[in-house]
């Protein structure tokens, strides 16, 4: 195996590009934080500043005062956690079969997964609404969770197929040679190696559901059931007018769970449990 050394200017360019990308990614979030702490008069300043001159917690107080943010966050959490766990629980065995048995059916299923991602929300929402109504699941979190599971399943499957393919079949063959049955091999050998992939997929499914707005808006009728993205729109008025301070404060709080979860499990995603599993 040959390695190529990158020249210093090229490396500096890479770091610069990376820095630019990070700034690009971080800009909206940093601006959100800045806005959340600004009083109304600073929000309408002709010369906006990054650091609020007169920082205030009033936007947070107002946001909590005007909207049931905690209840909405609780609903979002239930919906997102349940949807993510269920979707991944269903997707994992499916992904294993699709990755290990490259039959015509598996290829067709893969194609269908790709196509299903192309359906716009508005195309599916009315039939979905009618189905859920017949099941008595309108305005219920389990109904919403079912939708989220179905919606995130193709992507979860897509991700997990890749992770399963990355697990060397030699390991499973070695386990079989050592006398392990199929189930034992799956549970003791394959599943632990898949763990980072499963965690990453749960995370993405969680974030998809946590941020989802349209299904929640349409399916949940009563204020007690509404999720956080729906409640956030209550700070927006006609013709795009917005109560910017409280909206930013609430939106900042809404991004925190995703950030915390990323921070906590980042190591598990990037740790690479496959390291050293196979001698090459």
């Amino acid at each position: 195996m040959s390695t190529t050394r990158t020249s210093k200017p090229a490396r500096a360019g890479q770091y610069l590009a990376l820095l630019g990308y990070l700034v690009f990614l971080a800009f909206p979030f940093l601006w959100l934080i800045s806005t959340a702490f600004k009083p109304p008069r600073e929000l309408a300043s002709l010369h906006p500043t990054w650091i609020p001159k007169d920082p205030t917690l009033a936007n947070f107080r107002q946001a909590f005062d005007e909207q049931p943010l905690l209840r909405a966050a609780g609903n979002s959490l239930i919906a997102a956690v349940c949807a993510a766990l269920i979707a991944v629980a269903i997707a994992t065995p499916m992904a294993y079969v699709m990755a290990r048995h490259r039959t015509l059916l598996a290829r067709a299923a893969t194609g269908w997964v790709v196509v299903s991602q192309a359906f716009p929300f508005v195309l599916v929402i009315i039939p979905l609404f009618l189905v859920l109504k017949n099941l008595g699941q309108i305005n219920s979190l389990p109904g919403l969770i079912m939708v989220y599971v179905v919606w995130s399943l193709p992507f979860a499957l897509w991700m997990l197929v890749g992770y399963v393919r990355a697990v060397p079949t030699e390991l499973e063959e070695a386990a079989a040679v050592d006398g392990a049955g199929k189930l034992r091999t799956l549970v003791s050998v394959t599943a632990p190696l898949l763990a980072p992939g499963i965690v990453a997929t749960v995370l993405f499914a969680f974030i998809t559901a946590w941020n989802e707005f349209f299904f929640a808006l349409v399916l949940l009728k009563t204020p007690e059931k509404q999720t956080l993205p729906v409640v956030l729109t209550h700070f927006i008025g006609a013709e795009g007018a917005a109560d910017l301070g409280p909206l930013a404060a609430a939106a900042f709080l809404a991004t925190l769970p995703s950030l915390v979860i990323f921070a906590v499990i980042q190591k598990r995603i990037t740790g690479g449990m496959l390291t050293g599993a196979v001698k090459s």
Binding site: P40, R41, L43, A44, S45, L46, H47, P48, Q62, D65, E66, N75, L77, I78, A79, V81, C82, L85, I86, A89, V122, I125, I126, F129, L130, K133, G136, Q137, I138, N139, S140, L141, P142, I145, V187, A191, P192, A195, F213, F214, L217, V218, K221, T222, P223, Q226, V230, V231, T233, H234, F235, I236, G237, A238, E239, G240, A241, A242, D243
Partner: protein, 429 residues
């Protein structure tokens, strides 16, 4: 590992069960429960709506109203889905320009026979026209706002220009001359037009000059014309931006709120905005900033301008139309309409409510806006089928290009009329 998986699954199941707290919006005790979806969003407005619902519930034990918070941002899609699924709220808050599809689609109840005489006679005919589609009335118009000029009062006084009043407004020519007078040619402009959505502003303000653009023939079909009267308002804006340099070109792509920092920062002397923007100005203006409300310029039709009022409708599917209308009648009692108007910083449509002294105060220039109420008309074309497509595909780009100076008046006319009539034709076969 297995223990962790088991723990996670148990937690998921527990959470799922916690989420299965049932779905009970019906009542088993014979009492009626009506769902009222409100789009109120500012704190005062939400508070006023919730208080009124509370007062109704306290005095009507057999008809309970449940307040449901909706949002302007997504109301159309949300209602459409709810109607299709037979799960729409009983009482629906919306705006008149959003009702046509729902009314023609049979989703809204015709309120003509259900409304009490008190309410019918309290709201003037010109407002009822905004919610009348075909032979039916599909909503009660209850709040509206004129477009006004919000001006930097100190700047105006210092310049010595005549200050217009509802009794003696500026003509469009005078407005052009004044905005030129207020400009210094070095980055300070007499006016900033926020015309991100140029169509409704153009059509609504052109009513003052007699412009109507949409003409309905005896056969009921509508065609578009662009006469001299239609051209006065657009030409004024175009010339302010491109000839006089008295209007900022950069604000043409902005929404109303986007112009406020420049207004507070002393870049523009006047900004044409909806009357309710006063709330944002009170909240955000720097200390000591002196502002005032001026009427929009007048033309051959005086101060006439188009509006799309906020409305209350009843779902066709509800089994309790009578009770829903009774609640609307309660909500729109004159004193209650005043509370709602104050909460939204808008004008009530009801004539009794408009007489309330609270809406005639000089504070925050309520009196100036209230004086304009009698000149508000139904926004042109809001019930014309195909209007939405004409607006998005033809009129918006054409007006944006005209205002920025990219095309001339002849090209604008050609696009609005020729291309526009082709669009309308498809809807009127």
């Amino acid at each position: 590992m297995r223990a962790r998986i088991a723990t996670a699954l148990t937690a998921a199941l527990a959470l799922l069960l916690a989420g299965c707290s049932g779905d009970s919006d019906g009542s088993d005790d014979g009492k009626i429960t009506l769902r009222f979806q409100s789009l109120a969003w500012q704190k005062e407005s939400v508070d006023a709506n919730k208080e009124l619902v509370k007062e109704w519930n306290a005095t009507h034990p057999d008809v309970k109203v449940e307040y449901v918070q909706g949002s302007w941002d997504s109301v159309h899609d949300q209602l459409l889905t709810s109607f299709e699924g037979g799960e729409a709220p009983d009482i629906i808050h919306d705006a008149s320009d959003d009702l046509a599809d729902f009314a023609y689609g049979g989703y809204l109840a015709d309120l003509d026979e259900l409304l009490p005489d008190r309410l019918k006679s309290d709201i003037p005919e010109r407002s009822w026209q905004t919610t009348t589609f075909g032979d039916g009335v599909y909503g009660v118009p209850f709040l509206q706002e004129p477009r006004v000029l919000i001006a930097n009062a100190k700047w105006l006084k210092r310049s010595g220009v005549r200050i217009p009043t509802p009794e003696k407004p500026w003509s469009w020519d005078e407005f052009r001359a004044v905005s030129k007078e207020l400009s210094d040619g070095k980055g300070k402009y007499g006016v900033a037009w926020p015309l991100k959505e140029p169509v409704s502003a153009t059509l609504n303000l052109s009513l003052s000059t007699g412009g109507r653009m949409f003409h309905r023939g005896d056969d009921g079909k509508v065609d578009i014309r662009f006469d001299k009267a239609d051209a006065i308002m657009p030409r004024t804006v175009h010339d302010q931006v491109n000839t006089d340099k008295s209007a900022s070109g950069t604000t043409l792509g902005m929404g109303g709120s986007d112009t406020l920092p420049g207004f507070f920062g002393g870049k523009y002397a006047m900004v044409p905005l909806g009357f309710s923007y006063r709330q944002q100005i009170v909240q955000q203006a720097p200390k000591g900033f002196d502002w005032q409300v001026l009427p929009a310029p007048a033309g051959a039709e005086g101060l006439a301008q188009g509006v799309s009022p906020q409305t209350l409708s009843v779902s066709e599917d509800t089994a309790h139309k009578k009770e829903a209308v009774e609640f609307i009648d309660f909500l729109l009692q004159p004193k209650n309409m005043v509370r709602l108007a104050q909460g939204d910083w808008m004008l009530p449509t009801g004539e009794q409510a408009l007489k309330d002294p609270a809406l005639h105060t000089k504070k925050n220039d309520w009196a100036t806006g209230t004086a304009l109420a009698k000149d508000l008309r139904s926004a042109p074309a809001q019930s014309v089928r195909g209007y939405a497509e004409w607006k998005d595909k033809v009129a918006t780009p054409a007006l944006q290009e005209y205002y920025s100076g990219a095309i001339d008046m002849d090209e604008l006319r050609k696009r609005l009329v020729t291309d526009g009539n082709l669009v309308l034709k498809r809807y009127q076969r």
